[in-house]
Amino acid sequence: MEMPAPDTGILSRKDRIVARLAAELPSAAVIHDEAEVRAYECDALTAYKCPPLAVVLPASTEEVATALRICHAEGVPVVPRGSGTSLAGGALPTADSVILGVARLNRVLETDYDNRFIRVQSGRTNLSVTGAVEQEDFFYAPDPSSQLACAIAGNIAMNSGGAHCLKYGVTTNNLLGVTMVTMEGEVLEIGGAHLDAAGYDLLGVICGSEGQLGVVTEATLRILRKPEGARPVLMGYDSNEVAGQVVSDIIKAGVLPVAIEFMDRPCIEATEAFAKAGYPMCEALLIVEVEGSDAEIDEQLGLIMQIARKHNPVELREAQSEDEAKRIWLGRKSAFGAMGQINDYMCLDGTIPVSELPYVLKRIGEMSKDYGLGVANVFHAGDGNMHPLILFDANKPGDLELCEAFGADILKLCVEVGGCLTGEHGVGIEKRDLMTTQFAPEDLEAQMKVKDVFDPAWLLNPAKVFPLEASRLRRESGVAA
């Protein structure tokens, strides 16, 4: 993966840039020691590393504005960072960039149950947002797998999803407002406790813009009352096609499960060896979860089980207790860890139309043979968001490159059948150079024009999202405001 060559002029001015930052920010907020900045050399896409010029860790919106104003004046690129859990390289620095981490901005500012929102600083972790309202039986709905660690800032940047978004939507559907600082250091208030925008939906375009339009320091998030209960059912089938049909039939029957998760045989085998959740050995396994009171759950699951039986399951298991429910989820939740035990892996994130599921799984199987690399599939089936895990050996020369080529082919396949490159992880650097398979040059140009408006100097996270060649002129010279 290519990154732009660092600006030697900036590298040579490091001392001056650091001195300016240190003069206006608390000393603990500026890190510039070569050994210490290494802690910020990568995010969760660990195959790519590069220590930044410096790191700033502001503790207030004002300090964020100060840092950005100085970097803007010095012409230094800034890479915003939440908790560094991006799987797409969204927080990967370049040697001439300053990392702006929001980890110190972690306070809850306001909770309002009557109006059903919480206002938090953006460095707060996803799970701890729910943690702050749980005592009143409320929760924050988007639940990415990394929710224990990932920050709301990163969730907003990537428009993160999760397992339960079939019912509750993704981040953009649960975000009411932000305080955002522009690259020039101007503080903007967008949205709030009220619904919808007065004019253009700026909040909608900021969410998912991968930290390229501004640095979000505070967020107003919609909170919801927890359902009375939830119960999963597990079903096993002897073909992917049949399991795909079951998913489609459940949705057509008018039931809206909160989650429909899908695992294929390689994934079942690996997780079973690791977590021993008692999964059946079969080609495809579905976990379907519904919510409500006991009686409501019984009614919905009755309908779901009826559909499931029609398709001759090799296993059909309804959780009879809290413990059994946990066991059903255990394997799914440890799938990624299980794969990590047996191999290095790369996690993809394409989305496909649900109807294309059997075809895409068949093609992935064929490609797996051609490339000689194993692949396990685990994904959110209700919304078509796939997570193929390609297994490779990081220590074997050439294996990473082979894995990347395989991954690119899978993502191209997703686009070919009417889907997209990324459903919830974001483009970052990982899918940057594949953007031309999904978008025409003019489509990318339209998106870059939005960045021109928010960040005319093209200093915020500049080498992400757009193919380097497409963004080169803008990155090198900026645009007239």
Binding site: N115, D196, A197, G204, P353, G418
Partner: protein, 372 residues
């Protein structure tokens, strides 16, 4: 009137335009500053291109009548989640609302509080920008973070950033049953408190409105029949402390009552201007009092519909507040004199102006409609 039959024709027309264009779907929502210019109708760009009930997705050309989309969905037991309002009775307009118009105006209804607005269900757009370039964003899958979300930007931009040619939605199953709970005689303050209690319950309330003229506060529950009966019962108990709760379970009457709320029937055919204010629900009663007009509350108190004498500058009465007020119905003279859309703070106005300049550099698409 220009009425392209294909997206390519639409592109040619916009590229070749020498003067401003008035972009129109069904023409049932004449909101915003009056626009001078030749009418560009997308009504001939019509038809459902793809509908996969098993994937909960539908794709239609922008000029497709909303009724056609809703009928296709109903035939499969599905619906648009956001309950788009029909503006015809309120605005005294005729014609056929189009799906593109719904998107351009980001129209939603009472269910917005639970299921989101049009922008939340919209998953893909194709449009022609002010230079005539055909652009696409999003797609036909419901989970998609590939590149910037211009889908949201197009929703509610009233044709000022581009002319929509095709839209794609995530849809949901239509419920088997619905029930409406009513409490009579609550003050606005009590009503907002009651609605907050209901919306903060685990019973999935999909509508919460307060109609002061009828002295009625209404809550709606939807889903499978047994579940609706159960939740209506539990919610009635919960609401008991606010007053006597009556429950309507006849599906037809429930849907009629909520259609009246959705379409603001209370103000249809009556003299005066109509405004729409969005605030945090608990601010509703105080903001409503400032208007000095007749009001109706939806969205648990967060959406206030206001009827005031013609030509009233409502924003002067409101002063500064957290939220926004939009002039929905008024004479052309009033809509020219008073900004129909809430003016944005300067830094945001600069961004919005910048976006408009990038997407319509010649300023020919609905110039002035939303302000600049």
């Amino acid at each position: 009137m220009l009425s392209p039959a294909t997206e390519a024709e639409l592109s040619d027309i916009v590229a070749g335009a020498k003067a401003p264009l008035r972009v129109m779907g069904g023409g049932t929502r004449p909101v915003g500053r009056p626009v001078e210019g030749e009418v560009l109708s997308v009504a001939s760009l019509s038809g459902i291109g793809l509908y996969e009930p098993g994937a909960l997705t539908i794709v239609a050309k922008a000029g497709t009548p909303l009724a056609e989309v809703e009928a296709a969905l109903a035939a499969e037991g599905q619906r648009l989640p956001f309950e788009p309002m029909d503006h015809r009775a309120l605005l005294g307009t005729e014609g056929e609302p189009t799906i593109g118009g719904v998107v351009a105006a980001n129209v939603s209804g009472p269910r917005r509080i639970q299921a989101g607005a049009a922008r939340d269900s919209l998953i893909g757009v194709r449009f022609v920008d002010g230079s005539g370039t055909i652009l696409k964003n999003g797609g036909r899958v419901m989970k998609n973070v590939t590149g910037y979300d211009l889908v949201k930007l197009m929703a509610g931009s009233w044709g000022t950033l581009g002319v929509l040619s095709e839209v794609a939605f995530k849809v949901l199953p239509a419920p088997e049953a619905a029930a409406a709970l009513s409490i009579e005689g609550l003050s606005a303050l009590q009503a907002v408190e009651a609605m907050a209690t209901a919306l903060g319950s685990p019973f999935e309330v999909t509508g919460a409105a307060h109609l002061p003229a009828e002295g009625r506060t209404m809550l709606r529950i939807e889903g499978f029949a047994a579940s609706v009966a159960y939740r209506a019962g539990r919610l009635s108990e919960l609401m008991g402390s606010f007053g006597t709760v009556s429950v309507e379970e006849d599906g037809k009457r429930v849907s009629e009552a909520w259609r009246a709320v959705r379409d603001v029937n209370a103000f249809a055919g009556r003299d005066g201007d109509v405004w729409r204010i969005s605030v945090a629900p608990s601010d509703g009663p105080e903001i409503a009092a400032r208007t000095g007009g007749e009001v109706m509350y939806d969205w648990g108190g967060g959406l206030i519909w206001v009827l005031v004498p013609e030509g009233t500058d409502l924003r002067a009465r409101l002063g500064a507040f957290a939220g926004h007020a939009t002039l929905i119905r008024a004479s052309e003279e009033t809509r020219t004199r008073i900004a129909p859309f809430q003016p944005e703070p300067a830094p945001l106005a600069r961004l919005s102006g910048g976006l408009r300049q990038k997407f319509d550099p010649r300023g020919i698409l609905n110039p002035g409609l939303m302000g600049a």
